[in-house]
């Protein structure tokens, strides 16, 4: 599948990446002025992942960001003011000051689920969204992210496993930024590619250069559409680097300087700007126009956030429970009659294939088939019969593989 982008889409990717970066630079200034109430978590160097993955979704699709996925929230339609007011704990923020950072969402319009600080928990939740979407006939895809560190949680495994057996339309992106707070990835996970975790659940996976927004988008788009067609969940590992500490307070002195330099030379925004120039997708004037628009929008939203009030103290006791403030009605996209008797009735009997017998088990080559779809050109990790590989390879883009 060849996935291409139109010129205006290319420019939109730039807009979101640049906005993501400029917004965070603005928040660093606010942090230094003591105007950010809590912590500030940087996604510097990871913008291509947030933007490129979320850009592959349609408005009806759902996402749940992690702390560093500001870019994904912007792509899904949130404004800088939402993120600024969240960090500044203002009454005008999406959570009215009850929570901070990227911890907000929108069930009705943008289809964004608010994350919590405990890692991994979003994966079963987004699996449930995908299952409910399928139940309601909505043909939606659910997307979420997890860090390299977060893949060690039980919730990650339980969620991916449930998604796999339910064939849920879940795209999970492992954002491998090399560091879980201060611990390097090799001390957390013994495998070279975190995408290899997919094998354990019998689901396909991709490895992509997370600092190349076009590759990230193409892989995500393919994954999203495969998911939508009912093939079950997909894992994408995006290799990148966290270019700051865990949060503002952390100087990241545990990171070798040469590692920062290596990745700085691969900065996703610089690379993309060069790509746009080399591909003649823009000129200096277009860039200046987009940059000016970003500056204008940021300035407006900054003024809005700074002039916004803090919440009134009496808000504290409001909203613990829904006391009639919400009307809950699913958006049925299929006839309800299919789901009530007599149409819903079935014979409650398991069909068990091959009885689990040792001699009837799939040969390793055949078992690898489902992964070969994504492993063309990578016989090392997914040995498959030549014929099977040839057949699949035609349908598959070259694997975007990091070399070390």
């Amino acid at each position: 599948m060849k996935i291409s982008l139109r010129r205006e889409q290319h420019l939109e990717l730039y807009y979101y990446m640049k906005l993501n970066r400029a917004l965070e630079e603005q928040m660093v200034r606010l942090f230094r002025q003591n105007k950010i109430v809590g912590g500030l978590y940087s996604s510097l160097g990871q913008e291509a992942i947030s933007v490129g993955t979320a850009y592959a979704l349609e408005p009806r699709d759902w996402l749940a960001p992690m702390i560093r996925n500001i870019g994904a929230l912007l792509v899904k339609g949130f404004k800088p003011r939402d993120i600024l007011t969240q960090h500044m704990a203002k009454y005008t923020s999406p959570t009215l000051g009850k929570d901070g950072t990227s911890h907000f969402g929108d069930l009705k319009v943008r289809h964004v689920v608010s994350p919590i600080s405990m890692l991994g928990d979003l994966i079963p939740v987004m699996t449930g969204i995908a299952m409910a979407g399928s139940y309601l006939g909505q043909k939606i895809v659910a997307m979420t992210w997890i860090g390299d560190g977060g893949t060690s949680t039980g919730a990650f495994h339980e969620g991916i496993n449930l998604a796999a057996v339910q064939k849920a339309a879940l795209v999970c992106i492992i954002e491998n930024n090399q560091w879980a707070y201060s611990t390097p990835v090799r001390r957390q996970v013994p495998t070279q590619d975190l995408a290899d975790r997919a094998k354990a659940y019998g689901i396909p996976s991709y490895v992509v250069d997370g600092n190349d927004v076009v590759s990230v988008y193409q892989v995500s788009k393919e994954a999203v559409e495969r998911c939508r067609s009912g093939q079950g969940p997909i894992l994408i590992e995006a290799k990148t680097m966290r270019m700051k500490g865990h949060a503002q307070h952390d100087a990241a002195e545990y990171v070798p300087k040469a590692m920062f330099e290596y990745w700085k030379a691969r900065d996703p925004l610089d690379r993309y700007e060069k790509h746009l120039t080399a591909s003649k997708l823009w000129d200096a004037q277009t860039k200046a126009e987009i940059d000016a628009r970003i500056e204008r929008e940021l300035q407006e939203d900054l003024e809005f956030a700074e002039s916004s009030p803090l919440p009134p103290p009496e808000l504290v006791e409001q909203g613990v429970y829904c006391e009639g403030c919400h009307t809950i009605e699913p958006d049925w996209q299929r006839p309800k009659e299919e789901l009530v008797p007599p149409k819903s009735s079935v014979a409650a009997v398991w069909e068990v294939e091959d009885f689990g017998a040792f001699e009837k088990r799939e040969e390793p080559a055949a078992a690898a088939k489902q992964s070969t779809v994504l492993a063309s050109g990578d016989g090392r990790r997914h040995p498959a019969q030549p014929s099977a590989r040839k057949e699949k390879a035609a349908k598959t883009p070259a694997r975007n593989k990091v070399r070390r």
């Binding site: 299952m131 079935v346 014979a347």
Partner: protein, 319 residues
């Protein structure tokens, strides 16, 4: 009581296709206690979902479903295993509406409690972990009528409800249920027995123990008023305080362990709201501060019984 719970699930699923079930062995097998027997056959694979052994994923998936407007009912095979999804419930579920206005209309239900020699991992009463968690509702019925009516209310509620089913009562309490739809409101206690001399407050299996003790006391001329809490969160303060103002004495009986049990909370709210009306100390009869033991003589010592409740009530009545 078990059949009443099954009927509630059946009728709610019949009424509203947004109601779906998920849990371990709930489908083809019909649940470890057969609470969901026959539901897969009637409502199909999409509405009765056998899941992997993954309590965190079960609750997490139920949250996701509820965000799309479904009303999932998740089963814990034994309520002891709710500890495995403690984080999902206390951090994700309970805070969702408060933090970002996302209601979670889901129910987590499962067999709870001791007295059946289930041992340390199949007998727990973990309700107080969750009564201490704003955003959740906690229900623990003692009768078949209430179990059905409260479960229906829980399913229709826009908030997450933990529904504890005392397994000792599953096949021991029986009553004729009215035909047709009815609900029992969440957050409302009920006076099971009127009395003037003291108030006994209880719930679930211990409600029956308390009623037994009240009968023993009645023969001695002590008239106990027995209150069945039914819902532990939110707690029905009005019914409790009204009864204390009438009897001037209160004894709390629960099967949960002593320290941090709901008796302490009730003692505090009685002191806050009816101290002047008290003619004696707030007393409690509870299980011991130990894990639930396996061997019958140990478990019998562990659990409150009619004699211990009656003895405490006699002590209180003397004030």
């Amino acid at each position: 009581m078990l059949e009443a719970i099954r009927q509630a699930l059946f009728e709610e699923m019949e009424r509203d296709p947004a109601v779906v079930l998920l849990g371990e062995d709930v489908g083809v097998y019909g649940g470890a206690f057969k609470v969901t027997a026959g539901l897969l056959e009637r409502f199909g694979w999409e509405r009765v979902i056998d899941t992997p052994i993954s309590e965190t994923a079960i609750v997490g998936a139920a949250v996701g479903m509820s965000y799309l407007g479904l009303r999932p009912v998740a089963e814990m095979q034994f309520i002891d295993f709710i500890a495995c999804c403690f984080n999902q419930l206390t951090n994700f579920v309970a805070k969702s509406h408060y933090r970002w206005g996302a209601p979670v209309p889901m129910v987590v239900r499962g067999p709870s409690g001791g007295g059946v020699h289930g041992g340390p991992f199949h007998s727990a009463n973990p309700e107080m972990y969750f009564v201490h968690t704003p955003g959740l509702k906690v229900v623990y019925p003692s009768t078949a009528y209430d179990a059905k009516g409260l479960l229906k209310s829980a399913i229709r509620d826009n908030n997450p409800v933990l529904f504890f089913e005392h397994k000792f009562l599953y096949r021991r309490v029986k009553e004729e249920l009215p035909s047709g739809d009815y609900t029992v409101p969440l957050g409302k206690a009920v006076v099971r027995r009127e009395g003037r001399d003291l108030t006994m407050v209880s719930y679930a299996a211990m409600m029956h123990t308390s009623m037994g003790a009240a009968e023993v006391l009645a023969k001695e001329g002590i008239e106990a008023e027995v209150i069945d809490l039914r819902t532990l969160l939110p707690l029905d303060r009005e019914t409790l305080l009204a009864s204390v103002k009438k009897t001037n004495k209160i004894l709390v009986v629960h099967e949960d362990t002593r320290t941090g049990g709901i008796a302490g909370e009730i003692a505090a709210l009685v002191c806050e709201g009816a101290f002047e009306d008290l003619d004696g100390p707030v007393l409690r009869v509870t299980s011991l501060d130990t894990p639930v033991p396996y061997s019958p003589p140990l478990e019998e010592r562990f659990l409150p019984d009619v004699q211990r409740v009656a003895a405490a009530a006699r002590d209180l009545a003397r004030y």
